[in-house]
Symmetry: C2
């Protein structure tokens, strides 16, 4: 069987210490059993993770490359994550830097079904970054939210998503909101001639997530949003691959912050938001951009973008979807930084710019087109 590779950084006093820790990880992530007591040579030499190399990154940190037999995971995504970082997530100072699945794993996990080209095809916009806003705040009723969606769509925005906090509350029931917002956006599309998409949030408990995604599809949705850390990454993947759904899936980062918030544990931004989400079949990955309400740095955002776009044979590139503090003041800079193949999320900034959100969206589109032209013409 083929072997896949995971690169971990870890804190160690010297190369011998790093090697010992890497071997502990290789054992922990697979046999979880005293290695010297294993008698079966196949389990001892193949099933047990194998430390392939140790490199010094700087005085305190080392990069350990460990390979694992595909058979440790079978074809299950949860078990793949478990081998990559199950128990070792509890070891302080250990961080997943990158993941290199085998071709057979890529074929089994499948990855994003739409990715950048598929989403562009649906929206019909090819020459500029895409724009997304959210209907909110929670507490509004479905009619008010649908009216807000209508006014966003009329301005020419590409996507309108449910705020990730809109699920199935008394103020706005899921099964009421989705058809009402769909209808409102389609009504606006008939006037504008555009293909604005309404993206319902289908995140729910257990198997209800898949049921909501199917409901959204039947109601006419062209994409859905799932908070992967709340619903489970394998649930996001199930939605993306379900033949009755068949829609692009946007990953929302709610509850996932703990995986990347500490510099020396969890995952690198690139491995988590990029590689892992692509293997989980997300087509667009929402994350907090630099300079906003969160404290992701420019370097961290660049890492996420790299993870969304880096070549992974057989796995489509996906849209980085930065948000969390976009406004008219930082939009040009953001386009400069992220380039054309990004989906920009702007919520509060649109309301702040002009209480008439249709005009606000229209002004934003003008700004985006001017900036894209400026960059294209090298001005």
């Amino acid at each position: 069987m083929g072997r896949f590779f995971v690169r971990y950084s870890l804190g160690a006093s010297d190369v011998a210490d790093a090697s010992r820790q890497a071997f502990d990880i290789a054992v922990e992530q697979t046999i979880e059993f005293p290695h010297d007591l294993v008698t079966d040579p196949h389990i001892r030499d193949e099933i047990t993770g194998r430390v392939e190399s140790i490199e010094n990154i700087n005085n305190q940190r080392f990069l350990a490359t460990i390979s694992y037999d595909e058979d440790t995971c079978g074809t299950e995504f949860t078990q793949f994550i478990n081998v990559v970082f199950g128990n070792s997530s509890m070891k302080p100072g250990v961080r997943v830097e990158s993941i290199e699945p085998t071709p057979a794993q890529v074929a089994a996990f499948r990855g994003p079904q739409f990715g950048v080209p598929g989403i562009r095809e649906i929206v019909g916009v090819f020459d500029r970054p895409l724009l997304c806003s959210a209907i909110k705040p929670m507490g509004l009723d479905s009619a008010t939210l649908a009216d807000m969606a209508y006014r966003f769509a009329l301005g020419g925005i590409d996507f309108i998503k449910d705020d990730h906090g809109l699920t199935d509350q008394r103020s706005s029931r899921f099964e009421d909101r989705i058809p009402m917002c769909m209808e409102a956006v389609e009504r606006a599309n008939r006037l504008t001639g555009r293909k604005c998409l309404y993206i319902p949030n289908v995140t729910a408990d257990g198997c209800l997530t898949l049921a909501r995604a199917r409901f959204a599809r039947r109601a006419g949705a062209s994409a859905v949003i799932v908070s992967g850390a709340l619903a489970g990454l394998s649930t996001l993947r199930e939605v993306a691959l379900d033949p009755e759904v068949g829609l692009p899936v946007f990953f929302h980062p709610a509850f996932c912050g703990s995986y990347t918030v500490c510099p020396d544990s969890g995952f690198s931004q690139s491995a988590f938001f990029g590689q892992l989400m692509r293997l989980a079949c997300a087509d667009a990955v929402i994350f907090p951009s630099f300079g906003g309400r969160f404290s992701f740095s420019r370097a961290q955002c660049a890492e996420i973008v790299e993870g969304c776009r880096r070549p992974m044979p057989g796995v489509r590139p996906v849209f980085p979807a930065p948000g969390g503090g976009m406004n008219f003041g930082n939009f040009a800079e953001s386009i400069d930084f992220y380039g054309n193949d990004a989906i920009f999320l702007i919520g509060g900034g649109l309301f702040r710019h002009d209480p008439d959100i249709t005009r606000s969206v229209s002004d934003l589109l003008t700004l985006v087109e001017a900036e894209v032209a400026r960059i294209r013409d090298g001005r």
Copy 2:
């Protein structure tokens, strides 16, 4: 509507800074919208999280108590987690210290269906800590694993779980392993007269987790294990509450380390392993004990125990299930520390003590009973 409370610790320069940050969290976790632009008084004053108090913990850290309207969550567990710590999980330096749900939320979420008394009733052991081992390593075939389960059970152990890395690999298919291990343990039980339970690992992708739990129940299992961070906490809860399953659920901590590994972000041990897992309906919570392969301290383990046992009106106390490095050398100390209402996980230590694992278990039981008697008699 009632309001529930979450206590966050956060890093701040002074009380004004802490108050400002707490207000940002209160807004982020609910309306995620510029508060000054909210016109509806109900949304502005009730739906928006409310900072109830700010206390200085020490120079650098403050404790912020924020209350949220029940209506922000409805009755969904994923949305409850989202309000507790969705986007704010991405804010460095913010940590959930404790959670205080309302009676209505407790009634909706239900909590552990068995807990400590229910599990003791099933096993029929009331006067000592319970003992659990795991069949492993991965790579063994189902017949060998079943034989191992038989030999563990013959020694008198209370529980035999699948290693959490055993799912549905080529070497041991789920649907073969479960009936074979069930049969082996029942055969041993007929000889010993005890009620040793075999606990299948039903963690799988998406809705397959529930399907595996139902399969396990039909095959005669008396409990199941779910890696909650891999399958999703709401999936664990779905298994626990499913009428076709109706079994105690053991929480395994694979992939959850990032939620507690950093001291100033994520969750406190007590809130995560204790309160959150109880609300997710886990009946026993597996975690790495101090002094083993992981680096949880005694203080952290004490916090977990406190979280498993602390009074939460309407929510049963659950078993702390420490593991990850238990052996004959530290067992007495562990009983001293955790007391009777704990489930001790011992794997490699049993194999290391005596290659005859039946004798090894029997020796361990003797040790445990002697230690329990010593403590009881105050020697």
